[in-house]
Symmetry: C2
Subunit: 437 residues, 2 copies
């Protein structure tokens, strides 16, 4: 069997990751923080298969990703299947299927793995995990405020300081109204939107030139307006009949609301923020790293009330965001915020030669029943090697069991990091470990 397989690769499939226990420990820590904050606001978890009927994505228009970047294949029964590239079509499908029975407002979150066929690069893999937090069924701006607050509080729970990131907001309705006022409609608006979406990746001269190409003479006014970063000056620069537009009020209310709920938040208006050009219908926001290490947004979201259009269903008000694990890990690394994690196993029992398994099993059982995760080294290696193994596995404590321990039922608990030892009976040692955690 083995001769044909000398070159069988030990690498995971290109653009995907293996999660060894230390990688998994980080992922579990990250997901636990995401869950904790989302649930504290009343969001409940849902899930679905990564396999979806391909039609679900074909139904959406204007998305490059469907054609070039999805994993789509035919199953053995001739069905076209896609590995989900994002969670929103799935959530739309699930809501459309049970719309009448679901208890609105729905607060749903999920942490699915999503797949995109692209060249792997820093921050971009073929498979990554993405927290999706969505609030369905609330028309009012309170929903937008809440969703931004959830995003902010996850960043804080991950250890980010207020100066490490800023949140920029804009309103799709404002851009639409402004462009309508300027006569930029139809294809021209599409072109303009796409250009705006790419603005941050361009030299300012290039943007200016392309804007002129699209809009001709009218571009100068817009260019001036869009470079205003301060909401008050921006409003002042608007045509009179747009200065009290509903979209402006929404932006003001969102800014006030998120600041009221989160006094130290670093949030500002950004008239050029587009957040892609697909399904958003109102307030959009993005979170940026302030360190300058990372010019692209870390993540973002917004309002997308036309969620169910592909199912010919009435509108459902919807606000949400998606937060990818790879980008967030890079952010935490940049800011030296990666947690130091030890093993979920707290004690390793290292065994001297000849010690009776029954005694060892009873010892382990007592520790386990005391609520402490404990492993037993049955390898019969030398004690020194058993201890090295525990240390490598990031298990904080060891207990060596030999004849003395069997005779006296007293044990020495050793902290591998400090070298400190604690000699006592099991119940006392269990309490000792618990007090420390």
């Amino acid at each position: 069997m083995s001769e044909n397989n000398k070159k069988l690769s030990r690498e995971p499939y290109k653009g995907t990751r293996d999660f060894y226990p230390e990688d998994m420990a980080f992922q579990k820590w990250l997901f636990a923080k995401m869950r904790e904050v989302s649930e504290s606001y009343g969001y409940v978890e849902y899930g679905a298969s990564p396999l979806e009927p391909a039609e679900l994505y074909a139904a959406k228009t204007g998305e490059e990703i469907v054609n070039e970047q999805t994993y789509t294949f035919e199953d053995r029964g001739g069905r076209k299947v896609t590995l989900r590239p994002e969670m929103t079509p799935t959530v739309a499908r699930m809501i459309a299927a049970r719309r009448r029975e679901l208890p609105f407002p729905l607060r749903w979150y999920s942490i699915p793995n999503v797949f995109r066929y692209e060249q792997p690069q820093k921050g971009r893999l073929r498979e990554h995990y993405q927290l999706n937090v969505d609030l369905f069924g609330v028309k009012g701006i309170e929903a937008d405020i809440e969703i931004i607050s959830v995003a902010y509080n996850i960043m804080k729970a991950l250890g980010a300081k207020d100066e490490n990131f800023e949140i920029r907001i804009n309103n799709r309705k404002l851009l639409l109204a402004l462009n309508k006022h300027l006569g930029i409609t139809g294809d021209k608006y599409q072109e303009f939107s796409k250009l705006l979406d790419k603005k941050d990746k361009m030299e300012s001269g290039e943007f200016e030139k392309k804007l002129k190409d699209i809009l001709g003479g009218g571009s100068a006014f817009l260019l001036g307006l869009l470079s205003t970063r301060d909401l008050e000056s921006f409003i002042g620069g608007l045509p009179k009949d747009l200065q009290e537009h509903e979209s402006i009020k929404e932006i003001e209310e969102v800014l006030l609301g998120v600041k009221f709920n989160n006094p130290k938040i670093n949030v500002k208006f950004s008239p050029t923020l587009m957040r892609g050009f697909d399904y958003y219908t109102g307030i959009v926001f993005e979170v940026f790293d302030t360190s300058g290490e990372n010019k692209r947004s870390l993540f973002g979201g917004g309002r997308y009330d036309e969620l169910l259009a592909i199912f010919d269903e009435e509108e459902v008000p919807a606000v949400g965001f998606g937060m990818g694990d790879v980008t967030i890990r890079d952010f935490l690394e940049t800011h030296k915020l990666l947690p130091k994690l030890e093993s979920s196993t707290k004690v390793s029992l290292c065994l001297m030669e000849g010690v009776a398994p029954d005694f060892v099993n009873n010892t382990a059982k007592t520790i386990r029943e005391g609520g402490i995760n404990v492993s037993t080294d049955w390898s019969q290696k030398k004690i020194g090697d058993q201890i090295k193994s525990a240390d490598k596995a990031k298990i904080p404590y060891i207990i060596v069991i030999g004849d003395d321990e069997v005779k006296t039922n007293t044990f020495i608990l050793k902290n591998l990091a400090t070298g400190k030892e604690e000699k006592n009976g099991l119940p006392e040692l269990i309490e000792f470990i618990k007090a420390r955690n």
Copy 2:
């Protein structure tokens, strides 16, 4: 856009499941129990992508599943990719990649989703989750005893009573030795193994006939021996020079060991247990529902020391098991052991018309900071409908906020199940809810 899509399906892909919050709550409960018990024995979690290079499965021989039942497709770069049908090849790959650095003995567990292309039926879906618990690097029988104890204790943690299930064990080495003694080798042994593996799905007459077809005259002795259920009589029936065979000692030790560790365990020797016919090399075990509802084993495992053979690596001793979520759910349902789960959200704030959002947000914040998950109903529906929605979402408590609450800063906490009300300040109500959970 919508006219072309009138028939866009709202169903998940065939043979997969949507996890609405109530389904997810069960899955989270199940996985939490699996994690809790596995970690208590010192197992640590790992993970990997469901996408694997197809070669990983082609390397294994004798497995029908590779050819007919996998999801395999070509990516846009011409690479053959398989959706993992099981976790063992992945774990072998990961260990082979870092063999020198890993801290043996390794105790690893994972709860991956795995995929098989087959006709969906009761207990068999195209995607299911499977807990994999494995101990690598221990040659001794202590590992086999521990793994069976972990499996047993997960069943107990799920609420199963000792009379609800039994564990049957056998030893591949015993069958091999016995067959060698009888001159049943090579292809004949393969045929015999396959037949034995299917024994429980056949009428006894059919099994007898097929055994005769394979073995001719020698089948009568074997038939008598294999129908012995009691270890002592079985040993008595063995040829003299096999009665003290190493494999018999292992079975005896495992039976003693798991009974010592778990005094009430329902475990017995089963000479016909094969546990498939692929990679096992020693002790094998399976867990059976005793209710008679379900004749197939619920799950099982065993020793498979040739794990790394496909990578041309030296043997690594390995013992483990895999436990599927669909089968276990069916088992729990049969025995009326499905838990009653409420929402992770404990309180819903229902809002009277005109109440100030700032007051509501501050109230929610205080409750949240008190460690209670709370949602706010911003829908502006009638109070009665807001309460119905909370009840439907299985949120146990509501607080209605109107002018009185704003004036007095005193709230009425209502338990939706009992109708009981508790009037008090927020700090007292927070303590009240915490005391109850």
